[in-house]
């Protein structure tokens, strides 16, 4: 299972029962939390997501609607007896803030908190057995990063009928999976393509918030299986969006189209909008395969 569950889809301040930004990415048995607006720990409880399974937390930037829920989540993890490590990837200033908060509360966490300042990374942020997380810069009023979460390419599958037909020894199967050819004792070589079949293609989830429209990022985010792009305003607020370094519905659609994404979800709606239908309508005129990032919904990658 590779999916993303929306916990908060609103920008700036909570409104109409929509919460500030937070998303949980599920990668088999691993959970990654992306951004952590105020109330995220309540949303995790509401949607029955186990916070103990979250080992990585990525914070895109230091506007409060993307991280004011983090100190509460961390201290709650401690109160609930967490003992395994937690990794936080965020702009450097957050480390100082968190440390001051822990110190002021005389709080000793029962687990190790590893802080990784985003400024220290060029591209690869996390390199796990089954996935990587890469970062890229967006253009916002403060330094802000986007995240690309990519499955690692799955090994090729043994074509059992064919390998048995040619009598390839089972001990060599693991090398076949890695793409090697097989040469028998007589010196005859069997091409890997003959003996194996390709596995499912590696999938990717791209998280892109907050930002104005940045054409060069369509290349960096190219061919995302699922792309999340912020869409703070409808198209008639294009000037305001530019001024505040945010994106409109049409711009988000254009970004997905130019990045050749498979599917787009849009969120980070301004609190001025009670209803969201027009966001979907406008974005779909440019990129039909779009959905609203509705809270509580899990999108499969």
């Amino acid at each position: 299972m590779f999916g993303v569950t929306i916990l908060g889809n609103n920008s700036a301040l909570p409104a109409y029962d929509r919460h500030p930004t937070a998303q949980v990415v599920t990668l088999n048995d691993q959970l990654l939390l992306i951004d952590c607006g105020e109330g995220t720990q309540m949303q995790l409880s509401k949607y029955k997501i186990k916070r103990s399974k979250i080992n990585h937390i990525l914070i895109s930037h230091l506007h409060g609607d993307h991280y004011f829920g983090l100190p509460g989540l961390i201290t709650s993890m401690g109160l609930l007896g967490r003992e395994h490590d937690l990794h936080i990837y965020a702009p450097a200033a957050l480390e100082t803030i968190l440390n001051l908060q822990l110190q002021a509360g005389n709080t000793e966490l029962p687990f190790s908190l590893h802080f990784h300042p985003l400024e220290n990374f060029e591209t690869i942020l996390i390199d796990e057995k089954k996935f990587t997380v890469e970062i890229f810069s967006t253009e916002h009023r403060v330094p802000c990063w986007g995240f690309i979460i990519k499955e690692k390419r799955m090994p090729r599958k043994i074509n059992i009928e064919v390998v048995q037909q040619y009598g390839i020894p089972a001990a060599f199967y693991e090398f076949l999976q890695k793409g090697e050819d097989y040469t028998d004792k007589k010196g005859h070589t069997y091409k890997n393509e003959l003996l194996t079949i390709p596995n499912k293609p590696a999938k990717s989830y791209v998280y892109c918030a907050d930002t104005r429209y940045v054409e060069k990022n369509t290349k960096i985010c190219s061919k995302a299986t699922l792309l999340y792009h912020e869409t703070t305003y409808l198209q008639n607020c294009e000037e305001k969006a530019a001024l505040r370094f945010h994106t409109t519905s049409i711009q988000a659609g254009k970004f997905a189209a130019n990045a050749d994404a498979h599917k787009l979800i849009i969120g980070h709606f301004s609190s001025k909008y009670e209803f969201l239908d027009d966001f979907l309508k406008e974005t779909k005129t440019v990129f039909p395969n779009t959905d609203l990032a509705i809270e509580g919904v899990t999108f499969l990658v």
Copy 2:
């Protein structure tokens, strides 16, 4: 109207749809916020309390369940265009934390934020036309303060029948209200008690969290019209309560009885309790006029 509305009644972490501590005190047209756990701004919206009317925020101590909602509330006030001053009374370290957060988000508030470190006050924290706020120390794991919000004694009322009977000039009424006697041209003095009647007695609301049982504070909180006392545990957890500098149901009742309070409300319930009935049952054995601090309920002082 002098009342207190409960926004959060849970301790440490949110549970069973109970929120971390926050209360709004209404004093005619003024609102005071006491503590501001995560999600307070959402609770204010839920109960339709106008955040623009909050001019004073009191933070008892720097455990996260009492202030992690503050940065979000403040930045939201800014986003909503607040222009009038806001006063925060809290332990000094919070000023550094808030400033770092505003700086990291490159946030310029459109209103003046006045920070008043609680350490700087002996007793009187706020002295307004119609009320005062006094502070006192509780005994907790970190420095913690309680608050006494007192109406100022109302002026005495003119006894119209009597003043007309004696022909007291109307120009002297304001001095009568202040308690002065009246002496006429012939040198005859009319005692104030004869010409006026006492107004309603001044009422007080005492907020006492977090703390272990502190006998000497029953004197400081003496004769509260309405007393809020933390009650984290039931009586069978007395040892745990002492260890963690918290109070049990029976101890809270004893505190109210020894302080000769008129009415007690109890809150700050541990997340280990799904149901609260036993808190009420136990506390009432010692102090019958007790209510649970249920979220959304307004208690008149």
